[in-house]
Amino acid sequence: MVEHIRLSKQAREQLIRLKRYTGLEQWNVLCRWAFCRSLAEPTPPAPAKIPSDSNVEMSWRVFGGRHSDVYMALLKARCLRDGISLEEEAISQQFRLHLHRGIGLLANDRDLRSIRDFLGQLEVSCATA
């Protein structure tokens, strides 16, 4: 359904910053964290036109790795919650929104400045859950 992912320039800058903070070298790892971070937010992402103007690009399989199908299921489950149709177009759009919103959240969170802070989010999520 989502074959290719191409990030915006802004997202790329933000990811580069996150790379520096966390030492996580792979785009896909950071993107997974960003995606999940956004999914964890209760509000749906505001619809926006996100340009694919960077050269950072990856396939769905590279993004999800061995949990590719799980990530897809998560995306669909979120869409169901938000009452969004599971049209291929809509799902693809939602994914872009969630990914970029997540990158922005991570990059702009002043409490996330190291890999330790990254893992620290797990406890926060556990506490809220």
């Binding site: 966390t22 030492g23 996580l24 792979q26 790892v29 997974r32 964290w33 995606f35 999940c36 971070r37 999914l39 964890a40 949990h67 199908d69 799980v70 299921a73 998560l74 669909k76 489950a77 979120r78 169901l80 919650r81 599971l86 890999i115 330790r116 990254f118 893992l119 620290g120 989010q121 797990l122 406890e123 999520s125 556990c126 859950a129």
Partner: protein, 666 residues
């Protein structure tokens, strides 16, 4: 003193035992006359008396140069049966008005060795003390050194008139007679004591030792105070060094000296922590690269599981509805059902349709997720534990990371506080130098303390020694005072003795002058010849004054006059001595001419003493003189040498025809 008896036993020419009574028969008959030929034993009698009284100090005529033992051996009579001889003298002596009877027995045997025995019997009892101490005791009766004033050889008397000989005689006589010999001895003893005490004074060994000891104490005390001064000075130095060291230590601490020393460890700690942190971070990244982000969205995972359940149910319902519809259609073909009433058939049909509708409506649920089995299992497994595990690991790693971060922070702080080598090297070397100096100073001080206590001990020992020496010096000082007092008094005593002696001698010399002059005049009856006689009290020289005060020398006197002068001197001295001693005169008339002989016979012999023994040859006391003397003679004996028996026999009577009967008749 009166001689009572003389017993000779094999002595000289006197063989056998011969007893001679000597007691004067009457006060006016003091003379006991012995006659004999030359070699008849007259001199032997004189020797016997002297030997008995004085032993080995007797001045016996027959002794010559012989040793005493040899003299005794030769004095044993040739014909004696046993080689033994003895002499006995019995005399009376009045002491403090009490008459004591004495009997001296001197006997000896001349075997291989001469053995002499001597015993004194006083008042018929053996006086052991007197026997043993006789040589001292005899001085009370006849002092040995003036014996020759009373027991003398007339032939030798002339020499005394020699002006050179007389002073010696007079000096001896004066000294002995007047007890001046005691004064002299006292003087000599005092000189000896003084000399001995002076040598005692000269040996203040303790004082010298004390001085040496005090020098030593001074040296040790000086050394000690030197050490004390050094120690005090060093104390100041040490204080200063201690302050310096403590200041440097504080500065060193302040400037991170100990951190500097620890810098290797701190830096290692930091790098270790950093490596550990790196490892933790790697683990974190590994964890983060896995399923970790999924833990953020567990609620959606739950949604997925719910949704999947519903979609499964829907799929199964659709499947079942189709089968049931087929089954229902087949059932409706059952013949038995045809037999049923239309009503029952309609009811059955409605039921079947409703069932199928329910199923169909259930199957109408949309299949949105269409999870495959693998994904479903993955999600289930995540929810069932994988995520919990990931959370736990994450928390662990975070905790580790925090700890490490804190450690690193601290280590970084420490490391940042480490001073640079350049900044602290100078301080370190200063501090090391200061520490070394202090250590050396303290060591030196310890050495000084030890030295000080050693010196203290030494001083204590020396002071104890000094105390002991002081005591003995004080004693010595005391003794020295004693000694010097003795010396002062001794010299005073000697001075006094000297005055005493001079005074006594002067006084007695005057007496002696008078006695001698009187004796000489009695003998001379030539008053005009000698008018005066002087004896110099210091030299004892004799000086005669003639008529008109002329000095007359001895040389100007005739030989006879000189002999008379000599006898006068002896007589005068004997009278001056004040001792009532018997006089024994051997060869009484010697070489005198007839005029002088008669003077002696008539004026001297009867008056010489209360007991006068004359040992004469018939050439001297001839019949003529015998006649003149006879009224004064108490006893007379003849010494007859018996050719046959080769011994002298003492017989009574001066002349062979002069029998005792004659004497008794007189």
């Amino acid at each position: 003193m009166i001689l009572d008896e003389l017993v000779l036993h094999d002595f000289g020419v006197y063989g056998g035992r011969q007893r001679i009574a000597l007691t004067p028969t009457a006060r006016d008959k003091p003379i006991i006359l012995f006659g004999g030929l030359n070699g008849g034993g007259k001199t032997t009698l004189l020797d016997a008396l002297q030997l008995c009284f004085f032993g080995n100090v007797a001045q016996c005529a027959g002794r010559g140069d012989l040793t005493y033992d040899e003299y005794l051996r030769r004095s044993v009579h040739h014909g004696a049966e046993a080689s033994e001889a003895a002499i006995e003298v019995a005399f009376r002596h009045t002491v403090d008005g009490e008459v004591q009877n004495w009997r001296l027995t001197r006997s000896w045997s001349a075997g291989e060795q001469v053995r002499e025995r001597f015993q004194v019997i006083r008042n018929d009892r053996l006086d052991r003390a007197a026997s043993e101490q006789w040589s001292a005791q005899v001085e009370d009766f006849i002092p040995a050194r003036i014996a020759h004033l009373f027991l003398f050889d007339g032939e030798k008397v002339e020499g005394y008139a020699d002006l050179a000989q007389a002073p010696i005689l007079i000096r001896t006589a004066i000294q002995n007679l007047l007890g001046l010999d005691i004064v002299e001895r006292l003087n000599a003893d005092l000189v000896t004591i003084e000399r001995r005490k002076k040598t005692e004074l000269k040996a203040p060994e303790d004082a010298e030792a004390l001085n040496a000891l005090r020098d030593q104490i001074r040296q040790v005390a000086a050394a000690r105070s030197g050490v004390v001064r050094e120690r005090a000075a060093a104390l100041v130095d040490i204080d200063r060094l201690r302050r310096t060291v403590s200041e440097l230590d504080q500065r060193y601490q302040r400037e991170g000296g100990s951190l500097y020393e620890d810098r290797g460890r701190l830096e290692a700690e930091l790098s270790v922590s950093r490596r550990a942190e790196d490892a933790v971070h790697r683990s974190m990244r590994d964890l983060a690269a896995g399923a970790a982000p999924l833990a953020l969205v567990t609620h959606l995972l739950d949604d997925i599981v719910e949704q999947a359940k519903r979609e499964e149910l829907s799929r199964r319902s659709a499947h079942t509805a189709e089968i049931i519809a087929d089954e229902h259609a087949a059932l409706l073909q059952l013949p038995a059902l045809a037999k049923l009433s239309a009503k029952d058939r309609a009811a059955f049909l409605a039921y079947s349709t409703a069932r199928i509708d329910t199923l169909r409506s259930a199957a109408g649920e949309p299949c949105l997720l269409e999870l495959d089995a693998g994904t479903h299992a993955l999600v289930t497994s995540l929810l069932d534990g994988d995520l919990t595990e990931i959370r736990r690991q994450g928390a662990d790693l975070v905790a580790q990371g925090q700890q490490l971060a804190a450690t690193i922070e601290h280590a970084k702080l420490m490391v940042s506080a480490i001073p640079s080598e350049g900044a602290i090297a100078d301080l370190i070397s200063q501090r090391d130098i200061a520490h070394n100096e202090l250590r050396i100073a303290e060591y030196e001080q310890g050495r000084r303390d030890a030295e000080l206590s050693r010196l203290d001990r030494e001083l204590e020992t020396l002071r104890e020694k000094e105390t002991r020496l002081l005591e003995s010096v004080a004693r010595a000082e005391f003794e020295r005072e004693d000694v010097s007092r003795i010396l002062i008094h001794s010299s005073r005593v000697r001075e006094t003795l000297g005055k005493f002696r001079t005074a006594v001698v002067e006084r007695h010399v005057r007496r002696i002058e008078a006695f001698v002059l009187d004796s000489f005049r009695q003998l001379m009856r030539k008053e005009n010849l000698i008018t005066g006689l002087r004896i110099d009290p210091s030299t004892f020289h004799l000086e005669l004054k003639g008529s008109r005060g002329r000095t007359i020398t001895a040389e100007r006197l005739s030989a006879g006059e000189r002999q008379l002068l000599a006898i006068a001197i002896i007589w005068g001295l004997a009278r001056a001595s004040g001792r009532p001693l018997p006089t024994v005169i051997d060869t009484p008339l010697g070489r005198l001419d007839s005029a002088h002989r008669s003077r002696l016979v008539t004026r001297y012999f009867p008056h010489a003493s209360h007991q006068v023994m004359l040992l004469s040859t018939d050439e001297e006391i001839t019949r003529r003189y015998y006649r003149d003397l006879k009224h004064s003679v108490g006893r007379s004996y003849r010494l007859r040498f018996d050719e046959d028996e080769a011994r002298t026999i003492v017989e009574e009577g001066y002349f062979p025809d002069d029998t005792p009967r004659v004497e008794e008749a007189a």
